[in-house]
């Protein structure tokens, strides 16, 4: 028997994470995320073969690589042939996940493959932050009905049974909410660590000038060289950076403001790339996915048209209206 306060907490939890919503947005998120991972963030096979063959051991093995290393001898998997086989298996899984055939197993294999390559790249003493949140989001997708709409699975099911699948589910929105909360956590963590470590001096302009100059020199970025010489502009940019990172979490509590924060995130990371060469492309894509698909009441028009095209026999069975 659960006590009333516990039941109330569970109810609140379920209301937040598992409201009944359309599955169309989840399908759209699946397509954009997988396409991005397949064609934009594709791990370089040559790079991974070079890492595996030039090194005899992992310097700082990441958890997944430690696990694999326990199960499979290094000279079997971490060779030119081994890495090539994994690479192509992951690509095939990615294409299946994109078109939605055996969607959830394909998504799981694709996400696992993505984790494998990122972990492998970071097992030689060099870790970066660009992929972590996106990888967690990708790993959440197989555990939601990601292939119920806009997929070959849905088409085949309809052809087989003559009935369209349910249009809504209470498991359709949690991966997007999960990505939202992770973004809020990492932005806040980044912002607060600047203030705790650097204090208000982080916004004195000189700090950003030094950071930008350092990156612009090593990466040969003319725009960054110019910005690093503009003191007032750097004060404004550093105040904007701290404000964005510290207050992104507000979008969790005031959903109406969320699109502004997502758009701000896309511009923020695009600016970082143009000025300092920080390749946070996964963050740009994730903010874009949340901008397009997080609000189930605002399915993009092209997504609805695509769904109608995929269902020539008529509209889907509506289970329950989105809440």
């Amino acid at each position: 028997m659960r006590s009333a306060p516990v039941r109330r907490w569970i109810e609140l939890w379920n209301t937040h994470w598992f409201p009944t919503t359309t599955m169309l947005n989840l399908a759209g998120a699946r397509i954009v995320a997988v396409a991005g991972a397949l064609f934009w963030f594709d791990p370089s096979l040559a790079y991974h073969i070079n890492l595996a063959t030039k090194n005899t051991h992992f310097t700082d093995a990441q958890p997944l690589i430690r696990l694999i290393d326990l199960l499979v001898p290094r000279d079997v998997l971490f060779t030119s042939d081994g890495i090539t086989v994994v690479y192509w298996l992951v690509r095939v899984a990615g294409v299946l996940a994109l078109v939605g055939l055996w969607t959830r197993p394909a998504l799981f294999l694709f996400a696992l493959g993505d984790w494998f390559f990122v972990s492998h790249g970071y097992s030689y003493a060099d870790v970066h932050h660009t992929q972590a949140v996106f990888a967690l989001f990708l790993m959440a997708l197989p555990f939601a009905p990601s292939g119920a709409s806009l997929s070959l699975d849905a088409l085949l099911r309809r052809r087989r049974t003559g009935v369209a699948a349910e249009a809504t589910s209470d498991l359709a929105i949690w991966p997007l909410k999960f990505a939202h909360i992770l973004l809020a956590m990492v932005y806040f963590s980044t912002g607060i660590s600047k203030l705790l470590s650097g204090g208000l001096a982080w916004m004195n302009g000189y700090t950003l000038q030094n950071h930008i100059l350092s990156d612009a020199i090593t990466r040969n970025i003319p725009l960054g060289l110019w910005v690093s010489q503009q003191h007032t502009l750097c004060i404004l940019l550093s105040v904007g950076t701290i404000a964005f990172e510290l207050f992104f979490f507000v979008s969790l509590f005031l959903p109406r403001t969320a699109p502004l924060f997502f758009l701000g995130g896309m511009l923020f990371h695009t600016g970082l790339y143009l000025v300092a060469g920080h390749p946070f492309f996964e963050f740009i894509l994730l903010n874009g996915i949340l901008l397009l698909f997080l609000d189930p009441g605002r399915s993009p028009g092209w997504l609805r048209r695509l769904d109608t095209l995929a269902l020539p026999g008529g509209p889907r069975k509506e289970a329950e209206q989105p809440t």
Binding site: W13, N14, W17, F18, N50, L51, T53, K54, N55, T59, D60, Q62, P63, W115, V118, S119, G121, Y122, Y124, A125, D126, V127, H128, H129, Q131, A132, V133, L136, A140, F143, D170, L171, W174, F178, I181, L182, M185, V186, S189, T190, S193, K194, S197, G198, G199, A201, W202, N204, Y206, T207, Q209, N210, H211, L213, S214, I217, T218, L225, S228, Q229
Partner: protein, 148 residues
């Protein structure tokens, strides 16, 4: 449908809770818990004063006198990894690392590497633009100590 929600809820809670781990046990630059990471990026602040930076790179000289730039690909690390784990220690005079690097680079070479130089430049923002100043190179020869 209760069971999937329970597992998903545990997954969400676990991922969120795990993010406390890098804060409680900070690993610095060498993090080994991807994708659960500490997010303290570019946290260092600089006092008001000159805006300056350094750029360093490695140059290899072969027995036949050819000059080659040391790349991450040659060593088998990433670009930032080359800086953090090779160039920076070489600048600080790590002769043991230089010996290891000679062995590593000469493994499959016919024209072997005989000299390794850590070269660099200092850049300073001034009222008139960006000044560039060369830094003294640090040189390692096969089986030798560094010389300035």
């Amino acid at each position: 449908m209760r069971q999937p929600k329970l597992w998903i809820s545990l997954f969400i809670l676990a991922v969120i809770a795990l993010h406390a781990l890098p804060v409680i046990s900070y690993q610095g630059h060498r993090q080994t818990r991807w994708p659960i990471l500490a997010w303290a990026m570019y946290a260092k602040s600089y006092p008001s004063g000159p805006v300056e930076t350094y750029n360093r790179w490695g140059v290899l000289v072969t027995a036949q006198g050819q000059r080659i730039e040391l790349t991450a690909h040659m060593v088998g690390v990433s670009g930032p990894g080359l800086w953090k784990h090779y160039i920076r220690p070489l600048i600080r005079g790590d002769a043991a690392l230089a010996r290891e690097l000679f062995t590593r680079l000469n493994r499959n070479r016919t024209d072997s590497i005989v000299e390794l130089r850590a070269e660099g430049e200092r850049y300073v923002v001034t009222d008139t633009g960006l000044d560039t100043l060369p830094l003294p190179p640090i040189t390692y020869r096969s089986a030798s100590t560094p010389s300035l």
